[in-house]
């Protein structure tokens, strides 16, 4: 069974959404699912910054659109 994670995207959807990610998916894979370029965002898991090639853990993932004009 594929894991589900809660994803909050700032500023546009801070209320969060539940997303199914394939087993062993990385944060990079998650961004591909969401069609977000990794150069434009910072990823946090439970408030901690995480590397893009890390495996998506359970928890709340925050995607900050850190680059203006995006």
């Amino acid at each position: 069974m594929s894991p589900q994670v809660e994803v909050k995207i700032f500023p546009e959807s801070p209320e969060g959404q539940i997303i199914d990610v394939p087993d062993g998916a990385t944060y990079e894979d998650l961004l591909k699912i969401l069609d977000i370029n990794q150069e434009l965002v910072i990823l946090l898991n439970n408030g901690q910054a995480v590397p893009i090639d890390g495996t998506v853990d359970a928890g709340t993932i925050t995607i900050l659109r850190a680059i203006s004009g995006g």
Binding site: P11, N37, Q38, L40, I42, A49, D53, S68
Partner: protein, 302 residues
């Protein structure tokens, strides 16, 4: 199992694809600061008696710039840092960043000069762009802001004017000039020598990717907001940014390559295309290449 920092075995907070490194918070901060110190040492020789004016909008880039310059130079008694903020008069936007700028300079104990378009030009940007006009809002804002910034920097005797341009900004501007075939503008991006009346620009963050500036701000608890200027951004820059970012994901290191190639060429280009000499604008006295400067032209002064 979290990925570990390649330098100390703590949990990594970033993977820099272009360098192949995983770094923890401490070693990421060190890496950003190392790049900035190296840029300053190699490109912007800071000397005894320097007064470094820092263009502080209150956005993440200029906040990080001031924080790091303070960290590097506050112990040196022979170098002074002065922050300058221009309040263009953009309702609902500038008040917020201005507040962040004020908070940071008071915390750090840095002299802070705030001047407005309203006081200087008798009109806010909102009022200027509401008039009949030929150019986009960003043209007015950019020309007037740079002119006023240079004027204030000269008034306080600044020897350098530091701005928060990061690697993404630089790569975009270089690429835009390539696409437009604008060699003169490219040389102006990295002037070979100081010009009379124009305070020497310094871009200490030019070797740090924008994403890493944002991460640096977050891990150092620096004020960080994602608000955007209500005026539309240059459309071309947006397109070029998306193109470069698509390339960067597929070919990590592209942004650095664009800048590295440019840095190698610009010195040679500068010899082939001598810079136009500057004169004083006959209305405001600011340096310019024509009789009347761009700012006065836009304001309809004559």
């Amino acid at each position: 199992m979290p990925i570990k920092c390649m330098k100390c075995n703590k949990d990594a907070i970033i993977f820099q694809k272009y360098s192949g490194m995983h770094l923890c918070r401490k070693h990421f901060i060190e890496d950003v600061e190392r790049k900035i110190k190296l840029t300053i040492r190699k490109q912007y020789n800071v000397e005894k008696g320097d007064i470094i004016a820092v263009a502080l909008s209150g956005g993440k880039d200029s906040i990080v710039l001031l924080h790091i310059l303070h960290k590097i130079f506050s112990k040196r008694r022979d170098v002074e840092i002065v922050a300058i903020t221009i309040d263009e008069g953009i309702e609902g936007y500038r008040e917020v960043t201005l507040e962040k700028a004020r908070k940071l300079t008071s915390e750090l104990g840095i002299r802070h000069i705030v001047r407005s378009f309203k006081d200087e030009y008798d009109k806010t940007l909102d009022e200027l762009v509401a008039q009949e006009r030929e150019l986009g809002a960003c043209s007015y804002c950019g020309v007037l802001r740079k002119s006023l910034m240079n004027k204030i920097a000269n008034e306080i005797g600044a020897t350098k004017l530091a701005t928060g341009h990061n690697l993404d900004d630089e790569a975009q501007t270089i690429m835009m000039n390539h696409l437009g075939g604008d060699v003169e503008r490219m040389i102006r991006l990295s002037p070979p020598r100081a010009l009379e009346g124009l305070v020497l620009r310094a871009k200490p963050l030019r070797k740090v990717p924008e994403k890493e500036i944002a991460l640096y701000a977050i891990v150092n608890d620096l004020p960080f907001d994602m608000s955007e200027c209500p005026y539309a951004h240059e459309a071309l820059r947006g397109e070029v940014r998306d193109m470069i970012n698509d390339f960067e994901v597929r070919h990590p290191g592209t942004k650095y390559s664009i800048m590295r190639g440019f840095d190698k060429m610009v010195g040679i280009l500068g010899k082939e295309f001598p810079q136009a000499s500057l004169t004083d604008c006959r209305v405001c006295g600011e340096p310019c290449t024509a009789e009347l400067c761009q700012a006065c032209k836009l304001l309809g002064r004559s």
